[in-house]
Amino acid sequence: MPRTDRSTSSSDRPDRPDRPDANTRILAGFRILLGALWISNLGWKEPPEFGALKNFTSLAVSHPVWSPYSSLVENVILPNFTPFGWFTLLAEAALGAFLLIGLGTRFWALVGAAMSVAITLSVIKAPHEWPWAYYLMIGAHLAVFASAAGRTWGLDGLVRPVLESRQGRVAKLLRKAV
């Protein structure tokens, strides 16, 4: 059986085989929504104090989920919070931007899943939190990874044909990211 291309290029319109079908458009919209989610949450992670982010991160210590992670937050992250705050701001800005525009989508979806795991380990035992929101965030990023949702309505659809025409390790590695 031929391997199915995950490029989301299948069509439900035989007259326009180059047009993505409804399913791939929904997945592309879902990717854009995830990008907007990260960008929307940058508003409360601002320097110099990163106060709200610090309170949020401290929940991993006051309401521990997994003791090794709690210990990491208490002994490494909280005492060095300013560099951590800048890292979080820049990483989430990049994550939101790349998912929104659909560039390197599969790579950034994995980054988003990893960051969602870290958030999950920080907050799910805190009062007034709904753990399923964070489980769904992890699942959403894995769905975007699996469907390579940047190839429709995203820059991956432009970059991938160029990468496919190139040889070499770097091109091969980059092809896996898009």
Binding site: S40, E46, P47, L100, L155, L158, V159
Partner: protein, 143 residues
């Protein structure tokens, strides 16, 4: 299937149109705010969407750089999109530099503007760089 240069032009046009619409919304919501100082006004704040923040200067720059994307897409001058992309890149850097230096936020931008401007920068610059790479490759083959 559409040729890659067609898709590059269409991508720059689409990104440019989206940027101009957001810039116009930003200008509309910030019409009563200071021209070039904070605090700015947030688009769709009324409905709790918490999107990007603008004063009129920030909104006008967004419209200008977005318009470069529209012109790049319609005239197929992809490198014009690169200029718009660099402009959005500078808009992404602006709040970071002003926070770092502790100076006034000239464009009333928030953390959300960093992610948004970076996305627009990529959306205009990457297609321009792809167009240049394709042209260079064709020239090499012709030679």
């Amino acid at each position: 299937m559409d040729e890659l240069p067609d898709r590059i032009a269409r991508t720059q046009l689409t990104v440019g149109v989206v940027a101009v619409i957001v810039g116009l919304l930003g200008y509309w919501v910030s019409r009563d705010a200071a021209f070039s100082a904070g605090p700015g006004a947030i688009i769709f704040e009324d409905v709790e969407l918490r999107t990007t923040s603008y004063n009129r200067l920030g909104a006008l720059l967004t419209i200008g750089f977005g318009a470069m994307g529209i012109v790049a897409g319609t005239t197929r001058m992809a490198m014009l999109g690169l200029i718009g992309g660099v402009g959005f890149g500078l808009l992404a850097l602006q709040p970071l530099l002003q926070w770092r230096s502790g100076t006034e936020n000239l464009l009333a931008a928030s953390g959300r503007n960093i992610g948004w401007s970076l996305a627009m920068a990529l959306g205009l610059a990457v297609p321009a760089l792809l167009a240049r790479a394709i042209t260079a490759r064709s020239d090499k083959i012709d030679a």
